[in-house]
């Protein structure tokens, strides 16, 4: 039996460890690519959201590499995501892959422990002795997911300062390989130091004061670089600090009801949307308010074309929040189109817009960067964020 799962940026490392810790064989699909998208688009309903198509393409790719059991997250609504797994299973059957199983991973509320059923089904065992392995798997999964989150945090900061374009990208790719190979608790415990050391080896220009941008949106689009046209890397290489608290770890912890950062965001967004309406609507609104209050230079909202919850967020921001908080925002709705020209034009124009605002700010408030010290924006991510931020502080 070979297990596989869809791509979501670098998070294959965490998903892989969830199953290898149960002594199962795992095949990781190729990074999402043109071929996978082509297949996904061909066999999906035309009007479905884009992550559905992308993940279907990943599944076909994994099946061709030998996988026969696919794990897909589900939710009990409130948007179309709840039905991804069952519809995808039917489509795969219709495509002729008769003996493929798509096992749903219920993540509506992780404290209801429906995911144990998934692990039982995947491992094929229900006896009590396997439970120790479940615990190990979950601990490894959470630890690796947390480390991936840390890498993402550091990446967003460092790329804006690098001297040689591409250094950060190389370090991140090496770190992912290293993290994939770290399979003891000792290694995982010490891995933060590895991340810090590796990033510290990058040749950076500490005198820069880059623009700061907050990034949020639908989780798959925001995390999968092929789908979002490598938004994070492009921003970083233009010399922009990218702050994105959205990650797999962020989401999983939220589903364990332990994510106080998200609780705070929900509190901020409460006057506009009082409850979770699917997607990341509530938290995007919260992030926008949070980043505006922290004095960011801009905000980027990315979502799949036709995503109902995200469009709701977009409308609320344009009609209400933008007038109150006045933080420049740009929206990117992604679909299968890969023409980068319009995307690049809007991104560059947005950069110029932010720069002009920054210049005006410097002119009107001379003390803005008076003592050469950059202001560190408090960000969720705790100690690690602060440690990383110290590495890029000017001496």
């Amino acid at each position: 039996m070979l297990i596989s799962f869809p791509n979501m940026g670098p998070n294959w490392v965490a998903f892989k460890t969830l199953f290898t810790a149960l002594d199962l064989d795992v095949v990781v699909p190729d990074p999402t690519n043109r071929e996978a998208i082509k297949i996904g688009v061909k066999y999906s309903p035309e009007f479905v959201c884009f992550p559905f198509k992308a993940t279907l393409g990943d599944f076909v790719n994994a099946i061709e590499k030998g996988a026969d059991t696919l794990v897909m997250a589900i939710d009990c609504g409130p948007c179309r995501f709840g039905f991804y797994a069952s519809v995808q299973e039917r489509i795969l059957r219709d495509m002729g892959y008769k003996d493929i199983r798509v096992i749903p991973l219920d993540q509506a509320d992780l404290l209801e422990f429906h995911w144990v059923k998934t692990l039982q089904e995947v491992s094929g065992r229900k006896d009590l002795f396997i439970y120790s392995k479940y615990i190990k798997a979950v601990i490894y999964f959470l630890k690796k997911a947390k480390l991936l989150n840390d890498i993402q945090t550091a990446e967003g900061l460092f790329r804006a300062y690098e001297h040689n374009l591409g250094d950060t990208t190389r370090v991140v790719n090496e770190l992912l390989e290293k993290l994939d190979k770290a399979n003891t608790l000792v290694e995982l415990r010490n891995f933060k130091k590895v991340i810090k050391n590796d990033f510290n080896s990058i040749d950076i220009d500490k005198s820069k004061t880059p623009l700061r941008v907050g990034l949020s949106g639908e989780i798959h689009i925001s995390l999968e670089p092929y789908v979002n046209l490598d938004l994070r890397r492009k921003l970083g290489e233009m010399g922009v600090e990218v702050h994105q608290s959205l990650s797999l770890y962020d989401w999983v912890v939220h589903k364990f009801h332990l994510n106080y950062h998200r609780k705070w965001l929900e509190h901020l967004a409460k006057p506009y949307v009082p409850m979770d309406i699917g997607g990341e609507c509530v938290w995007v609104l919260g992030e926008y308010i949070d980043k505006a209050k922290a004095g960011f230079d801009g905000f980027i909202h990315s979502y799949p074309f036709t995503c109902m919850p995200e469009v709701t967020a977009r409308t609320i921001i344009t009609n209400k929040l933008k007038k109150i908080y006045d933080l420049p925002i740009i929206y990117f709705s992604f679909d299968e189109q890969s023409g980068q020209e319009g995307f690049r034009t809007r991104l560059e124009a947005f950069y110029d817009l932010m720069e002009a605002r920054r210049e005006r700010e410097i002119k009107s408030t001379p003390e803005f960067m008076a003592n050469g010290q950059k202001k560190i924006y408090p960000q969720y991510g705790g100690e690690f964020y602060n440690e990383i931020a110290q590495l890029i502080q000017a001496e």
Partner: protein, 341 residues
């Protein structure tokens, strides 16, 4: 006018000039500007196949214009900037010093003429934009991203279908007393609505006026949604030649809509202003290949990278006269091929 620093000195008796090039989806524009921001000469052409051909054709025409006017021979091009959707390719071909997005270029050009402008409407051949300015800086902008409804190409097509030259389109609309209502949400609906109204016997004038109205509504809903459009409003781009659209905008916004003198050249003019400022600030030797660029041969080749499953198609531009020197290369998703070394 923007003041000019005294760093600009004229060498060998020639005065400085700056060239702005705007290669869009349908047409290309060239503007030669002096240091005071006065337009010396300009070229406006329909695109020829590829941006490279368009750039070369434009350069050839510009050279002819300069040779024909003795005054212009006293100017030397100090700096050259490109904008429009093909700005990087054009920059590589003509040897531009600066490439900026058309949004910035349009805003800069409009600000040089109307310093207190607050809203810029721009409708071109394939795309439409809106730029909102407050206190002299851009605070918001939008481009049509998914749909080319309500742009110049659509109007062109409809004019051909109604059998009237596009130049007269606006006059017809102005003559109308009772514009018919035409669906504005999508050009497919608009077209079938028009055919229906045409067959029902409505006059061409009323149909065209209705079409202008629906186009403006479409623009407001698609591009201008949720934005506050304050006076003064400046309307530019190819479609701003159309009096019917101007009137429809005025009706819709309830205020006067200004159309600048160089309404189609604004992108190129803005780029010329931007490179002038760039030159004043940096004073660097230009990379511009000169007007003889129209005689240089460029070759584009493509190949598949093949290093990962994406198999990106890489485009490169070569100069056969200089041992196939590669002057530009892009197309890779990972950015690996973007560096030329």
């Amino acid at each position: 006018m923007v003041e000019v620093s005294d760093k600009l000195k004229s060498e060998d008796g020639k005065k400085d000039a700056f060239l702005g090039i705007d290669i869009g989806s349908v047409s290309c524009k060239f503007v030669l500007m002096d240091t005071n921001g006065e337009v010396l000469t300009s070229v406006f052409l329909r695109n020829r196949g590829s941006p490279i051909d368009s750039a070369k054709a434009g350069m050839a025409e510009l050279r002819d214009k300069i040779r024909a006017e003795p005054d212009l021979l006293n100017y030397a091009i100090k700096c050259c900037g490109t904008t429009g959707s093909a700005r990087y390719l054009t920059k590589a071909v003509v040897g531009g010093d600066l490439a900026k997005t058309e949004i910035i270029a349009h805003a800069v050009a409009t600000q040089s003429m109307y310093p207190d402008v607050r809203t810029i409407l721009e409708i071109g051949g394939q795309d439409s934009k809106i730029i909102i300015l407050r206190d002299d800086i851009i605070v918001d902008f939008a481009m049509n991203s998914v749909c080319a409804a309500g742009t110049g190409s659509f109007l062109d097509h409809q004019a051909a279908r109604l059998g009237i030259p596009i130049e007269d389109f606006g006059d017809y609309a102005v003559r109308s007393k009772n514009p018919v209502s035409i669906a504005g949400r999508c050009t497919v609906f608009a077209e079938s609505d028009m055919i229906h109204k045409q067959n029902a016997g409505y006059s061409k004038e009323d149909i065209i006026a209705g079409l202008c109205d629906s186009l403006v509504r479409n623009y407001m809903n698609n591009v201008g949604k949720g934005k506050e459009l304050d006076e003064p409003v400046v309307f530019q781009g190819g479609v701003s030649y159309n009096k019917g659209i101007i009137q429809a905008f005025e009706r819709h916004l309830g205020c006067k809509v200004i159309v600048p003198k160089y309404n189609v050249l604004m992108g190129a003019l803005g780029m010329a202003i931007l490179v002038r400022d760039y030159y004043v600030e940096h004073g660097r030797e230009t990379l511009f290949r000169g007007l003889e660029v129209s005689d240089i041969e460029f070759k584009t080749t493509t190949f598949h990278c093949g290093d990962c499953p994406n198999n990106c198609e890489i485009v490169q531009v070569k100069m056969p006269e200089q041992d196939n020197k590669i002057i530009a290369r892009w197309g890779s998703r990972c950015g690996k091929w973007d560096q030329l070394t």
